[in-house]
Amino acid sequence: MQPIVSIKNLCKTYKSGHQALKNINLDIQDGEIIALLGPNGAGKTTLISAICGIISTTSGSVTVNGYDTVKQYRKTRGLIGLVPQELTLGAFEKVQSTMAFSRGLFGKKPNTAYLEQLLKDLSLWEKRDAALMMLSGGMKRRVLIGKALAHEPRVLFLDEPTAGVDVELRKDMWKLVSKLRDSGVTIILTTHYIEEAEEIADRVGVINNGELLLVEDKAHLMDKLGRKQLCIELRQSVSEIPDSLSSYQLELSDSGTHLTYTYDVKSTRTGITSLLQAVNAAGLQLKDLQTSQSSLEEIFVNLVSEDQAQ
């Protein structure tokens, strides 16, 4: 299947001389949710801006649904909706009219029924006649989403949609995103919240210093880089690990009551069963067992610090 967005050798050097994107290659499939993770200044917003036509590119190309974003910008931009990172809204316009404005700007005929439904979905129906400057930050964020969706785009870019949004609203946003996905919209979002990527994305891309370090299936990424740990709590403390357990490379806590076993989730045989038998055989009594998995956050931090070290 042809990717909905295809980025080829994309580079961007700002006038200041700063190279914000270095040879980015990425194909985004129709209907998927992809999360772009990266520290401040990594180039996430720059990448989105280049695709949407807000900034010019230095070299490389981007196609959306097979159309070139520069030569056939009318076709590509019509397919795209963008929620910017900053809360950029006018002051005096009304919620409903600013959404109608956005729809018109993208060349669509007015459709009050669609806008009404959209306002309701975003819990903005009560506020439809409020002036934009009278809204709270979270409401403004939702108005921006409404504006981006007003022309029924097939691809939605969300640049940090949940920055500065409370937990409740963030959950709502996640629900909205999965509802959009169900209706067939492809979603590209950037975020600093790793749990957000973990929660809603199908694939995760990590950007640092203008380079796309990796793009992986989320589950695959966690498998590949994720390690699991089994923590064994003992009834009595031991001063050292018994020789019979040396092949498991256990770590003993300072208190002598906790043994930690690290294993690879990929391998078919984790060795847990034999470890537990060996622990028993060594005469140690178990008090409790606990497993933990490294989160996307740890994976991410590791990746970026490795990249920095190079």
Partner: protein, 259 residues
């Protein structure tokens, strides 16, 4: 053409005018009235008719200043409306939407400049009607008058649009209207014909493009002019072409809009 986009830009710009109705419309009316009280009545009553040949014909001073007053408002209003219209989205950041929408720069210009020109046109008509209360107005060449009127609205709205894109602060936005346009209009014969000036200043005045504009516009009313009306028209069209050229270049290069 993305007509929907042009139409929503045009309408929202006109709505902005509507929301600031008092400021948009009352202020030119009030200032016109003031000019009439001061120049037309207080000073004008001591000035003889202008443009009389051997004591025959000519127009009263009050009527004489009407075209100049209209031009003064048309120029300042066109520039301030159009420059504000496009500067504001740049200032608030909502320009991202214009840049990411499937519209050409030409369509953006049509929407913003069209709205600014319409607004200036309305203000011009209001001033004309207000002036009609104070003096007897006759328009000798209505078609020429409309031609100058409309061309001025469009040309200077376009000029304002260019300033709005160029400006990156509110100060710069006001700089050109204040430092360039107002002096040019006042020195361009809004309130006098240049033969009232000493010879040297008459020569210098001929380098002021606004002089041609006012002269041609005044001719269309009273057939009194400093320079030929065809030359006036040519100068307006030249300036219009120049502005279109600059806008086209801005569009090509993404000047100050697309980094």
């Amino acid at each position: 053409m993305n007509w929907q986009a042009i139409s929503v830009i045009y309408k929202s710009e006109m709505l902005r005018t509507w929301n600031t109705l008092l400021q948009s419309i009352a202020s030119p009316v009030i200032s016109t009235c003031l000019y009439f009280v001061v120049f037309g009545s207080a000073i004008g009553s001591r000035i003889e008719t202008v443009g009389a040949v051997n004591g025959e014909g000519g127009v009263s001073y009050g009527a004489f200043i009407v075209p100049g007053l209209m031009m003064l408002s048309l120029l300042t209003q066109s520039i301030s409306n159009a420059s504000f219209g496009i500067y504001f989205p740049k200032f608030t950041g909502t320009i991202y939407e214009l840049l990411s929408a499937p519209i050409s720069f030409f369509e953006v210009v049509l929407g913003y400049v069209g709205a600014a020109a319409t607004k200036s046109f309305i203000i011009g008509v209001i001033i004309l009607l207000t002036a009609g209360f104070f003096v007897d107005l006759k328009i000798a060449h209505p078609f020429w008058m409309m031609g100058f009127f409309i061309l001025t609205c469009i040309t200077f709205s376009l000029f304002g649009f260019i300033i709005g894109i160029w400006a990156d602060s509110f100060e710069k936005l006001q700089l050109i209207p204040l430092l360039v346009i107002t002096p040019l209009v006042f020195l361009g014969g809004s309130f006098y014909t240049i033969d009232m000036l000493p010879p040297l200043w008459q020569k210098i005045s001929l380098f002021n493009p606004v002089l041609y504009l006012i002269s041609g516009f005044r001719w269309s009313f009273f057939e009194v002019s400093d320079v030929g009306h065809e030359l006036s028209l040519a100068i307006v069209i030249l300036f219009l072409t120049l502005c279109m050229g600059i806008v086209w270049w801005m569009f090509k290069t993404g000047y100050k809009l697309r980094q």
